[in-house]
Amino acid sequence: MDIGIKQIEQVARLSRIKLTDEEKGFFREQLTDILSYVEKLNELDTDGVQPMAYATSLKNVFREDHQESSFPRQQILELSPSSANGFFKVPKVLE
């Protein structure tokens, strides 16, 4: 199991994390180590075993369909690092 710099850059892009060259180097090594370790799962034959996503058997939990009040807009906007005119403010999304 060996991860290349290109793969680290690809997964950093997917993760929306800007990495320095130094970080790319050590994350490449550490992820290679961890992924080599988890390869041990391949020792097990899991054909026919159902994947388990949750430890409970709950499925599709619904609540009553009634209105509840939400947080006041101003209170939520105050948490934002940048807002204007009642909106969250972000850099340009469309060219």
Binding site: I3, Q7, I8, Q10, V11, A12, L14, S15, R16, I17, K18, L19, E23, F27, Q30, L31, D33, I34, L35, Y37, V38, K40, L41, N42, E43, L44, T46, V49, Q50, P51, M52, A53, Y54, A55, T56, L58, V61, R63, F71, Q75, I76, L79, S80, P81, S82, F88, V90, P91, K92, V93
Partner: protein, 488 residues
């Protein structure tokens, strides 16, 4: 008698009997915190003013003959990844350094309703990712038993606060052992309930299929008390279990008849510190002397639990932590941004520490096209095999006993450069999270160097009462839980 050294149940009794006021308890505690916190660094934030206000309210209620709650006057510490209305909740991350939640987590609401006094928010590994507290963006908490050592993680702040008598009880969260492992390293009782037993509403999500809120306390009776308050169904958490909550407080003193204790050989193998092995074997001897039957058993897939965990937990974390984008709350980069993708990437580069980045990268890697089946689905299948191991075991025994950790608290800096080595300290606690069963760590001895040793009891889903009772039996026979580190 030193007030701060009393158990939560005892201090509550004194307050209710008016032998002492809640305000005196809070004043006394903050005086001690003022003396020792600079050494231990258990807290990220403290709220003396709020605590005194609440104490005054309780004292007045009692003076007027009013009814008080189950946690009346008990000073409680809360791990800083559990939302507290009007009180900063940072997750020990720069990305949430200035985040003040507009609401209380379910557990916080419950303890407030029962008249607990919240005194502060405790340190953790950033976003609860870590086993030593060294991944906190702010500072490293020290183990009160030996301040050169880590207190464990991720709930090291909560565990150190309780051990150093800087809180009477604490709330934590346990995704792979973050309540039990630090409790073991600091000599506390740490209980992770069944998945779904306690609402996760307001707990900042790390790995949603594994996360569970738990208690860190001075003894088993205190654990029963805190769990009694925080357990139960909550419509704001769709995975919260609609299962009746038994009376834990009364239940722990029931008699244990025909007790069958499982001893899994996989938890006593290679890598286990011999002093820990001998302390746990000794403890098993005490159970046997008290009429329990010890049954050797095997959980053959537990050797794969750590690998399974690091795929599932990181996969879930990479999705959960996608919400930190610098738009709605949290850190925003001061650098100018050309477009929104650059902004996200810079916010996350500046706001997340190394361990969080490592896990988000790993999670996105195992979920990415071409790898999803090989890693995530494979791990989810092995998770099912591990669950079957436990189902088989619990058809023969009432509870399973193991060491909580393979080694005692290690030195600060000792494992920080090797993530895999660090991950191994959670090897015995992770299976309970994968399977969703309750687990409790209780003190069962000390190493020759004076560090606490913890023993883990695991039970069937929703059988917290039974494992608390079995833990209480041991506590009645021993005094490890009463030992104090020399912080005089």
């Amino acid at each position: 008698m030193i007030l701060r050294e009393l158990s939560a149940n005892s201090i509550k009794e004194k307050i209710i009997k008016r032998e002492i006021t809640a305000q005196e308890v809070v004043e006394d505690l903050f005086k001690w915190i003022g003396l020792k916190e600079s050494l231990i660094k258990a807290y990220i934030s403290l709220d003396k003013e709020g605590a005194l206000l609440k104490a005054k309210e309780i004292d007045e209620k009692l003076n007027n003959g009013g009814r008080v709650g189950l946690l009346a006057g008990i000073p409680v510490a809360i791990k800083d990844n559990i939302c507290t209305w009007g009180m900063k909740t940072t997750c020990a991350s720069k990305i949430l350094e200035n985040f003040t939640p507009p609401y209380d987590a379910f557990v916080v609401k419950r303890i407030k309703e029962e008249d607990a006094i919240i005194i502060g928010k405790t340190n953790l590994d950033e976003f609860a990712m870590g086993s030593s507290n060294e991944n906190s963006a702010f500072h490293v908490t020290r183990n009160p038993w030996n301040t050169d050592c880590i207190p464990g993680g991720s709930g090291g702040g909560s565990a150190a606060a309780v051990t150093a008598d800087m809180a009477f009880m604490a709330l934590g969260s346990d995704t792979g052992g973050s309540v039990r492992q630090p409790s073991s390293f600091c000599g506390n009782v740490g209980c992770k309930p069944t998945y779904g037993r306690v609402s996760r509403y307001g707990l900042v999500a790390f790995a949603s299929s594994l996360d569970q809120i738990g208690s860190i306390t001075k003894d088993v009776s205190d654990a029963a008390l805190l769990l009694q308050v925080v357990s139960g169904h909550d419509c704001h958490d769709s995975t919260s279990a609609n299962v009746e909550v038994p009376d834990y407080i009364a239940g722990i003193n029931s008699v244990n008849n025909n007790l069958r204790i499982g001893v899994p050989k996989e938890f006593f193998g290679e890598g286990l510190n011999p002093e820990i092995e001998s302390a746990v074997k000794n403890a098993l001897g005490i159970y046997k002397k008290n009429g329990a039957e010890l049954i050797d058993l095997s959980l053959p897939h537990c050797g794969y639990a750590l690998a399974t965990y690091y795929i599932i937990a990181t996969a879930e974390a990479s999705s959960n932590l996608a919400r930190y984008d610098g738009v709605r709350y949290g850190h925003r980069s001061q650098l100018s941004e050309d477009n929104i993708i650059d902004m996200y990437s810079r916010v996350r580069a500046e706001g997340f520490g190394s361990e969080v980045k490592r896990r988000v990268l790993l999670g996105n890697y195992v979920l990415s096209a071409g790898f999803y089946d090989a890693y995530y689905i494979k791990a989810s299948k092995v998770r099912n095999l591990i669950k079957s191991d436990f189902e088989d075991a619990f058809s023969k025994v009432d509870c399973i006993i193991s060491p909580t950790c393979p080694s005692p608290a290690f030195k600060i800096g000792e494992k920080i450069t090797d993530p895999l080595e660090m991950y191994l300290s959670d090897i015995y606690t992770i299976p309970a999270n994968l399977v969703g069963i309750p687990g409790i760590s209780i003190p069962c001895g000390f190493t020759t160097t004076g560090l606490p040793i913890g023993m883990q009891l695991m039970g069937k889903h929703f059988e917290e009462e039974k494992i608390l009772r079995i833990a209480k039996l041991f506590e009645n026979e021993t005094d490890f839980h009463l030992k104090k580190p020399g912080l005089k």
